[in-house]
Amino acid sequence: MTLDSELDDLRREVERLRGILPERVDVDPDGVEHGLAKLVLTLVEFLRQLLERQAVRRMEGGALSDQEVERMGLALMRLEQKVHEMALAFGLDPSELNVGLGPLGRLI
């Protein structure tokens, strides 16, 4: 699986998730939807960071052309923005998505 297709897949997943979730959510801070959104977005954010790490490693390894680096950077940048937007849409501060990764945090 190439990095491009991984990115495409993740992007598709994010879009699909966005599609599944209703436009307006009752953002009750104690509500289950809010908690669920936080869990899901935390996972998505984790995967996004994992992907970024892989991409940087590939760049460091010299395996990518300048053009590929530029394209990948733009794609990752857009992904970051997307997750950021979704967090805000659920009344979450994007920084909340990084809390409590524990042992998983070592991977990123």
Partner: protein, 226 residues
């Protein structure tokens, strides 16, 4: 009767002049295998909140001061006394072994915080936005790796200078942007304050971190059974 679990101990139960959470009754449920569960009589509709967690901690401290015990993860509940007993019976051997490991021992917790905030200033090459993003990420990862390596070496130094065996030490590094090391050691209760002072002294010698020491606490980190 729903039971909100606090700690497991060997029978007979110590005589405690303590009540359960929120002024509710504290119960001792004894299983067949000579183990028992300290818990609060709860109702299914009551939701747990932060003050309950802290009260649970204070209660666990009192129980552990009275008899060797295994702290149970906060929020563990049983729908009935029979369910609690059955659970203890099922894991009796492992629980007894864990109890033997922690009896007479307390936990000292050490947190090492980075003095310097994460470096934010990075010179990026003149290039497209995508490349600049990648370079910024690369700089960030390099910095994080360096911190991780430093944190691990701090743990090595601490373990060596404390002259403590590996099974009695638990640690995690870089659990957040501010935390370099989160470490727990299991020490004999009667030496707890002495060991705490030692840990503080060793940690104070590290110039790039601030040390925060807590405890003696009940042996939360070492109570696990597989």
């Amino acid at each position: 009767m729903t039971l909100l679990a606090h700690a497991i101990a060997a029978a007979p139960p110590a005589s405690l002049s303590a009540g359960g959470l929120r002024g509710r009754p504290l119960a001792w449920s004894e299983a067949a295998a000579g183990l028992g569960l300290w818990s609060t009589e709860w109702t299914p509709d009551m939701k747990l909140e932060r003050p309950d967690a802290l009260e649970h901690h204070r209660l666990v401290e009192r129980i552990c001061a009275a008899q060797p015990c295994l702290p149970v993860r906060f929020g563990t509940a049983f729908p009935s006394v029979d369910a609690a007993r059955a659970s203890l019976d099922k894991r009796a051997e492992a629980l007894r072994a864990a109890l033997a490991r922690v009896a007479g021992k307390s936990e000292i917790a050490l947190t090492l915080l980075w003095r310097e905030p994460p470096a934010r200033e990075v010179t990026l090459p003149a290039a497209g936005p995508g490349r600049r993003y990648m370079e910024a990420r690369r700089a960030e990862f390099t910095f994080r790796e360096a911190r991780r390596a430093r944190a691990e070496s701090l743990v090595e130094r601490l373990t060596a200078e404390l002259a403590i065996e590996r099974p009695l030490v638990w640690h995690e590094t870089c659990t957040s942007a501010s935390v370099a090391v989160s470490l727990a050691v299991l020490v004999p209760t009667e030496r707890a304050h002495e060991r705490k002072a030692e840990l503080t002294r060793i940690a104070a010698s590290f110039g790039d971190v601030v040390a925060v020491v807590n405890g003696p606490w009940p042996p939360y980190t070492f109570a696990g059974v597989e």
